[in-house]
């Protein structure tokens, strides 16, 4: 029952994070890790990277609250959420969500839940850097839709394939 919440400008190492979720816990039967990357957005041309802003203090609280909600739904062991801030170039890692559990179903579902909630509840904002200037990224309806799948009336959502970023 260990939560690791990190908001930092530095990069992270997925292998180290995986090992921290896996090691010294014989009760663990499954680890699911997700990493999100900065990709070239289609709305603007010539995107070279982005600036990630957040609300210091609230960010950490919001991430802990999201983990607490996941723990109420699934029997989880260790949970890690890492989000980077500051200037990030395309192809860089931006976010990590990792979960360990006795069985894979809980780990898969909880990892997806963490990301769906993070994208609508945690106070981060992306500003794209392009060759012609800076542009704030606007929220997308499909992220709200992904979040809605987990509301009580949709408790066991049928996971559809989607192309949503990170």
């Amino acid at each position: 029952m260990t939560d690791r919440v990190v908001v930092q400008t530095q990069d992270f190492d997925v292998h180290d994070e995986y090992e921290a979720l896996r090691r010294h816990n014989p009760a663990t039967g499954a680890v699911v890790c997700f990493s999100g990357l900065v990709r070239e957005f289609s709305e603007q041309s010539g995107v070279t990277g982005m600036i990630l802003e957040h609300y210091p203090g609230m960010t950490e609280k919001a991430l802990k609250k999201i983990i607490a909600e996941a723990r109420q739904r699934w029997p989880l062991q260790r949970v890690t959420l890492i989000h980077r801030t500051g200037i990030l170039k395309t192809e860089e890692q931006i976010v990590f969500a990792g979960v360990s559990s006795a069985h894979r179903d809980a780990a898969f579902d909880a990892c997806r839940f963490l990301m769906d909630y993070l994208k609508t509840e945690a106070p981060f904002w992306k500003k794209e850097l392009t060759e012609t200037g800076e542009v704030w990224v606007e929220a997308r309806q499909k992220d709200q839709d992904a979040r809605q799948k987990w509301t009580p009336e949709n408790r066991n959502p049928e996971i559809k394939s989607s192309d949503s970023e990170s």
Binding site: M58, V95, P123, F124
Partner: protein
């Protein structure tokens, strides 16, 4: 009452903190209206269909929520992390 602004809202208003002379306590809806009065050219960005509000670093979903001058109140755009 002090209001914190983040991201696009801070950029368009060109300030990170706004001080409002408003009753104590007031519902969040009254603060929205006051912000729209302060920044009329950006009124749509402060409407309840756009700006999110956090009180003491927790997102609120009800504009009838009462806030005091001692509360930490923040307005910001829909979030885009991840």
């Amino acid at each position: 009452m002090q209001i914190l602004l983040f991201a696009r809202l801070r950029d368009v208003c060109n300030c990170a903190t706004v001080t409002l002379d408003i009753n104590n306590p007031s519902p969040v809806a009254a603060i929205r209206t006051a912000m729209q009065g302060r920044f009329p050219e950006h009124a749509d960005l402060f409407s309840d269909s756009y700006a999110l509000v956090a009180v003491n670093q927790e997102m609120i979903t009800d504009d009838n929520t009462l806030v005091n001058a001692t509360d930490e109140i923040a307005f910001f755009p829909p979030v885009t992390g991840g």
